[in-house]
Amino acid sequence: MTRDEFISLAAAEQESLRRFLLSLCNDAALADDIAQDALVNAYVASASFRGTARFSTWLFRIAYNCFIDRMRGRRLQTAPLDTSAARAVPGPEAADGRFRHEDLHRAIGMLPDKERAALLLFYMEDKPVKEVAEILEMPAGSVRAYLTRGRQHVKEYLEKWKTR
């Protein structure tokens, strides 16, 4: 795969990859750094890409592994939360939308890595369970279990904060 071919393939996935990592890390600079690492690693390994999986699945798997490597030995900080995107929520109920957004992303930030990744890939990136399973390198049944547990945990956090 030439550099131009790689760049054109990566360009199509760039935004969703960065959004996924940003939601995963809650830190824009760190997310972009991991995304750069992932893309460089993917380029170095592009000769081994056989096309058995979709390019986006392969790229997300590399990015997720980069994220895991980066987080190994370092606990993910759930605060301070990057709320710059929350301020951009439009509409007449902007304030309400902002709080809902902040609460949701705070709740997601408190989930364990795998639950958070499964939720973000399935709900935010709209990836099917099979693809999520390939990215997270686990059986589809485990992904469904993580999704159920993650949803339950998010619901519990949101209800707890609502009653305060």
Binding site: Q14, Q36, L39, A85, A86, G97, M124, R151
Partner: protein
């Protein structure tokens, strides 16, 4: 229900910063990777050539030494077990020492290129 959650996630998804700056940085990193890769490939080719040359030189030298020893047999005097060596005489022959030195030279010639190749692999992969 699932679709509603998906829609909610989509609406509240964070927006990554300027894509142009990200793309520029990525291009710079990929260019750097390419130059390192090109250097690495060049070095691998060079070391492979050196390894081949060392192998051939070793074969030729070894063959020549073996042929020389075969064509020039040394007849050693038969000594009884209780023979005493004269003062200052060594039990290690000069040919044995030269053989040892030749082995050392060939060994080093193989060892250093391989070590440097392994180091480069470690750096890159």
């Amino acid at each position: 229900m699932e679709n509603e959650i998906k829609e909610f996630f989509r609406q509240t998804a964070p927006k990554p910063s300027d894509p142009t700056a990200f793309r520029l940085e990525l291009n710079a990193r990929l260019a750097a990777v390419e130059s390192v890769k090109a250097y690495h490939d060049r070095e691998v080719r060079r070391l492979r050539r050196i390894r081949r040359l060392t192998f051939v030189a070793g074969l030729l030298l070894g063959g020549a030494a073996a042929a020389w020893f075969i064509l020039h047999p040394v007849r050693l005097p038969e000594l009884p077990l209780d023979t005493r060596l004269p003062e200052g005489a060594s039990t290690v022959g000069a040919s044995l020492i030269s053989w040892g030195v030749a082995c050392l030279v060939v060994g080093l010639a193989i060892f250093f290129p391989l070590r440097s190749l392994r180091r480069q692999k470690k750096i890159l992969f």
